[in-house]
Symmetry: C3
Subunit: 203 residues, 3 copies
């Protein structure tokens, strides 16, 4: 119940971030909705397709489509006021990636895949919605260029498997790993940390 | 038989539209063929992958590859005359999206998915070949920015499920829903209708 | 054993080519790694998804992730010296596409698909990693615009099925078809062959 509420908050945050990017690209109502949808479910969809868990998750539970539709409608109607919600949206998004990471890991474990693959699946669930959003909007994906975003998911995933040795209760593992993702992401934004660019300087 | 002929006309129209876009991007012969192919089968391929109907449809019936190859060859050879065929091509394309929409819906029904998911699958079958074409050509997908295109598919899909209450014969449903898509698309182009842009005007 | 070594050399070459493209786009460390990974496994992943061979190949054999990680690390550390290795990298890449083509064909045969589909799967395995790399970097895919690259894979694939009539030993088929791909690619680069552009000159 608690986890589901959080999951929905994350989905809402992702959908709204899609609406904002799409509106700045002068898309029409259909385009805006598609980008909102893809941002929210794209990562999990790719994960499900790659492990063969089809039909993909949002085809089997209508909650996602309903929530995303409402969030997109809300974002479109109140688009001029959303800037006042920036901090809440950032918080939802951060909680969302924490949760999506752990959900991806658990899906990988259920498919009996190697821990490293599970961490990749978790990171993919959390980050690739944004990547597909940026590709559809004809941008180089933002997570390839700046900010500690995927890195937070990877470290959170590593922490999950490190703690697996010591903790038996999966619910605790779930919460702690999610918290690690969220903490790293928050610290990175507060202290403006970023990964080094590897631009090749020609001499 | 009748439906198959229409299906092939739609495939031809999609393939030719791909050739035209690719040639304007100065692609070589291989690139032109790939774009033609992707435009024609991309939507249905995505649909099949998401519901797990693999190997995807064009791997199991060689008609598609043959027809697309011939259409691409024709379009390349007669590229200077295609502008005289613009009206026929538009008509084929319109019939094509009507048909692809209903085929997608029926695939969703066969997989026992929710009506809303079926409508999404129908719209995806009809529209996402063009989206993938535009991404490969490094453009923001045209259907996100203008024209009533996907909307026609969605309304056609809704009409399918509204009529499901009253009609038992699936063939009639198929034809009527397809006709709804085609009619809306034609009316939109004739009267130059378009969805409102949601561009965020900063004050 | 021999084939596995070659396979790994091809994977390394693909990963390094990804690193080079990503660094020129000023991506951060995470982006560079993702592009390296996608370039190396993207084609085979698309192939596996389309035929339904999931979880995809690199989730079931950890060699790929290890090799790609090491190659990406190497490429990043020695990025200023890689230009001296250009010839070796080109050779690895060429051997890689030869091998990937034949692996794709064999996967198609195992799924009992039509020879033409098998050739498409082989070409896809060899070429689409580079296509996805270019899309993520916001470029029109290079293989759509120049060089005999995919064509070499297609001709190699055709030779496989032509020889199938005469040769029973699959290992020989494998080696000869791979050699055809490599030879055509080498000749094309040495003699600067390219496919005709189909750019539409308006009169």
């Amino acid at each position: 119940m608690f986890i589901q509420t959080i999951d929905i908050l994350g989905t809402i945050a992702f959908a709204i971030s899609g609406v904002l990017v799409a509106m700045n690209k002068k898309m029409d109502a259909f385009g805006v909705f598609i980008i909102a949808f893809v941002t929210a479910v794209g990562g999990g969809t790719l994960r499900d397709v790659l492990i063969g868990a089809t039909p993909v998750f949002w085809m089997k539970d209508m909650t996602f489509i309903s929530v995303i539709s409402l969030a997109a409608l809300f974002a479109v109607l109140f688009r001029n006021y959303l800037k006042h919600l920036r901090r809440s949206l950032f918080l939802f998004d951060t909680i969302g990636i924490g949760l999506y990471t752990v959900i991806g890991i658990e899906k990988g474990l259920n498919a009996e895949l190697h821990p490293i693959i599970c961490i990749i699946l978790g990171t993919m669930s959390a980050c690739f919605g944004g990547v597909i959003r940026d590709i559809l909007c004809n941008e180089i994906p933002v997570i390839f260029r700046k900010e500690v975003y995927a890195t937070a998911c990877i470290v959170g995933g590593l922490s999950y498997f490190l703690m697996l040795e010591f903790l038996e209760n999966r619910n605790y593992l779930f919460l702690i790993a999610g918290a690690v993702v969220i903490t790293i992401r928050l610290l990175a934004v507060i202290f403006k940390l970023k990964l080094p660019s590897l631009y090749k300087h020609e001499v």
